[in-house]
Symmetry: C2
Subunit: 210 residues, 2 copies
Amino acid sequence: MTNGGELRRRSTPEETARRVLEAAAAEFVERGYDGAVISDIARRAGVSSGAIYPRWPHKNDLMLAAIEHLLEQLRPERRIEELGLGDLTLPELFQMWGASLLTSDSVRDVLGQVFGSARSNAAIQQRLQHFLDEQADEFCRLVEQAKDEGSCSPEHETAALALLIHSIGIGTHLLLSGGLSDRYVPSEKGWVALLAHVINGLAPPTDPNH
Amino acid sequence: MTNGGELRRRSTPEETARRVLEAAAAEFVERGYDGAVISDIARRAGVSSGAIYPRWPHKNDLMLAAIEHLLEQLRPERRIEELGLGDLTLPELFQMWGASLLTSDSVRDVLGQVFGSARSNAAIQQRLQHFLDEQADEFCRLVEQAKDEGSCSPEHETAALALLIHSIGIGTHLLLSGGLSDRYVPSEKGWVALLAHVINGLAPPTDPNH
């Protein structure tokens, strides 16, 4: 019942703000935008409701900040950094990312909730658009880099390949969060082998005289 | 104001039911589950609210029937039949389907709305799961058929390939309904060429001596 109480006594305003955002994000994922309740968020963060209002006067302000906080954590560059994948080649990176699609439940719940809430809330819709565009931009950058490195043939349209990668990511998350039966979920081995086959097939044709 | 009035006088109960379901489906896509209003649905269908209640006593009954009606129209076999694509080879079929992903707005809106409403409504969630499983089953069947026909190598796990196709479909629809900027939407030519390249890369390796 005094959850966070000891921490609270020595928290800086930044720490408190971060704790409130994380509690709000968790409420959003569990209950959705409409179902989230400020007093529950305060309890979860171990602060009083009065500590929330000065910074986020309306529930709308707090929920949008929480969604921002969630989406920020989902950005591909950030995830790559956190997983320590910066030194891999792009085909290796793409395979690791593909494998993670079958397992990363938290992302799945966040995206399902954001897509759901965006239908009825213009501010969330705008934030979702911005997030999708940022991701698309990052995928385009990675495709261009793969072309420069020689692991992707320049014949493939960058936007087409970025959309393919992006749709596999979003689609897999939403299929699994939508409750696709286990019998239709492939083995990790079969899935990674297929993605590797597809990625390797994007490389420029090798010279048959070599 | 007498929209549908002439038709109404000679409608059979089946025709009336179909008109009500279509009006309810349109309301659902436009306003969502919570926003749909029975009297607006009745007006849209050109019937009185009293004509709706005997068959669907609660809004929940009508909305679930409307979602059922929408999802039924999205089933891949049905769409393939309607487009008259039954005689194409599977790789041709897959390319046509892929190209349609960039343009078929109505599907996109339906899916965005169903995924959104499923988060807060267990009956819709259950219906969505059933729909996703049916689609997965159909994709598995098509992949097996492609293996039998020799257009897909048996080395690829059927569930993996079905998930890849399924996620590209769901993902593309949701990215576009989520508002991805036009600058990240590929040309139809580039998109179809990439899908064709990926599909052709799934065929069994050809014997280099031929």
